[in-house]
């Protein structure tokens, strides 16, 4: 006998059925996929991505979604954490019969997270990791060539070469991960999204707040991403993995204890204990947010350096990389001016309220 969140007593077999059927309904009602799509499953070896890989490949078979599925793992270069969890994904590749592609920060950006942390210390690690992660598929030649080179020089050179030589050069270019991908699927669950809503409210980041509850994001960018577990509680996922005896890796990233998200997580967990529905309700509130039309929102353009989507002149990944390569680890972190330690205090009396209102969206830092 097991629990579902809404005080429904069900047996194990019914739990599997209900769980799988709910995910199927979320996929169908939100039209997450089209037949024939090549879909990358973001796989870290953790509980959410393991269950995602298992359930998605099962539903793909059972309901004939017609998807070409594979596992995509990112090696951020975190010793004692990522190297172990990647072993789990390699086992998943065998267990679920899904081919695996691994992409590393070292190859793409020239920096591992361990290198980055050595340079910047133990604060703001997640900022670097999160930004670099999101651009991993979208812009393979990120760190190597300027936009001009990519768009003009390289194609011209390639015009004059035999295709066999081109293929050989492309394979050599470590940055050119030739992943043909139509969509990326991740295992973000209801708890994660509720935490993100809370984080964005606490930071005053209304641009992110308006996007973070969407079940599909990045449709106007290189690769759309979707989250079939948006309404699925973390607890259900863990129960499913436990009873189905799915193989997953369960250690916290060694750099995460210092992350701000930890506070949001504690709070959400305490709330869940008092009123389990609170998690779905927070997501609903996030979805229902409306922003006044008089508010200035950042506009989405493209990065001058690499062409990725960006609301600033340079995208965040370029800014961070530039900072790392120039030995200026604070570049792109915290407020653009002031005493440089992310401090929010103002020296002039009475200017605080005005300053907060005129601050650019998403730039309140702690």
């Amino acid at each position: 006998m097991m629990l579902s969140i809404f005080v429904l007593k069900i047996c194990r077999e019914c739990f599997y059925e209900v769980f799988e059927e709910e995910i199927h309904q979320v996929i169908v009602q939100n039209r997450l996929f089209k037949s024939g799509e090549r879909v990358a499953i973001g796989a870290s070896g953790g509980k959410d991505s393991t269950v995602l890989a298992y359930v998605l490949s099962e539903l793909n078979r059972r309901h004939n979604y017609g998807l070409d599925l594979f596992l995509l793992s990112i090696d951020e270069g975190i010793t004692g954490y990522r190297d172990d969890s990647l072993e789990t994904v390699k086992r998943n590749e065998v267990q679920y019969g899904l081919p695996l592609q691994i992409v590393s920060y070292k190859d793409l950006y020239g920096w591992t997270m361990d290198d980055i942390v050595k340079m910047i210390g133990l604060k703001n690690n997640c900022t670097f990791c999160g930004v670099f992660r999101r651009q991993v598929i979208a812009f393979p030649l990120h760190s190597k060539h300027s936009l001009f080179t990519q768009k003009f020089i390289i194609p011209i050179i390639f015009c004059f070469m035999p295709s066999s030589l081109i293929d050989f050069l492309k394979a050599l270019d470590r940055g050119a991960t030739l992943l043909k991908v139509d969509k990326l699927v991740t295992g973000h669950n209801a708890d994660d999204i509720a935490e993100t809503v809370l984080l964005n409210i606490l930071r005053g980041d209304i641009a992110r707040l308006s996007r973070c509850t969407s079940i599909t994001t990045g449709e106007d960018g290189p690769i759309p991403r979707c989250k079939p577990f948006k309404y699925t509680y973390e607890k259900e996922i863990v129960m499913y993995a436990y009873f189905k005896k799915l193989d997953y890796f369960s250690t916290e990233c060694i750099y995460s204890p210092n992350a701000y998200r930890g506070f949001a997580r504690e709070f959400i967990k305490d709330l869940e204990r008092l009123r389990p529905r609170a998690i779905l309700d927070i997501i609903k509130s996030g979805e229902d947010f409306r922003i006044a039309t008089t508010t200035k929102m950042p506009e989405q353009g493209t990065c001058e350096r690499c062409g990725y989507i960006s609301s600033q002149k340079w995208c965040k990944a370029c800014v961070l990389l530039e900072g790392l390569n120039r030995g200026l680890p604070k570049m792109g972190i915290g407020r653009p001016r002031g005493n440089g330690n992310g401090d929010n205090k103002h020296t002039e009396a009475g200017s605080t309220a005005k300053s907060i209102e005129s601050k650019q969206c998403g730039s309140l830092d702690f």
């Binding site: 629990l3 504690e266 869940e272």
Partner: protein
């Protein structure tokens, strides 16, 4: 009372990296029943070798730790008031890590 305790989701790291513990627990003095509340207190004293705050908060498990008694969610059997019997299997799984 003989019980089998299982720790998962990273909690095993708090008990010398041993996932399964077969234990023998004495009933509390004035009583002839053992509740989950008694068991938790026993576990904290005898099995948790480091960072007890990752396992418990106050009298109960830390929010984010799932508890199963004989494969049944303890929320169905009364949480801390759940009574235990000989040869029961209790599983503690932490959900507090990356996915």
């Amino acid at each position: 009372m003989q019980l089998t305790l299982e720790f998962g989701g990273g909690l095993e790291l708090l008990c010398d990296s041993i996932k399964i513990h077969k234990v023998n627990i004495n009933l509390p003095n004035e009583s002839d029943i053992l509740t989950m509340k008694d068991l938790l207190s026993w576990v904290r004293t005898n099995l948790i070798k480091e960072r007890p705050e990752m396992f418990m908060k106050g009298d109960t498990v830390r929010p984010g730790v799932l508890v199963l008694v004989n494969d049944c969610d303890w929320e169905l059997s009364g949480q801390l008031d759940t009574t235990l019997e000989d040869k029961d299997v209790i599983v503690f799984i932490s959900t507090l890590h990356g996915g």
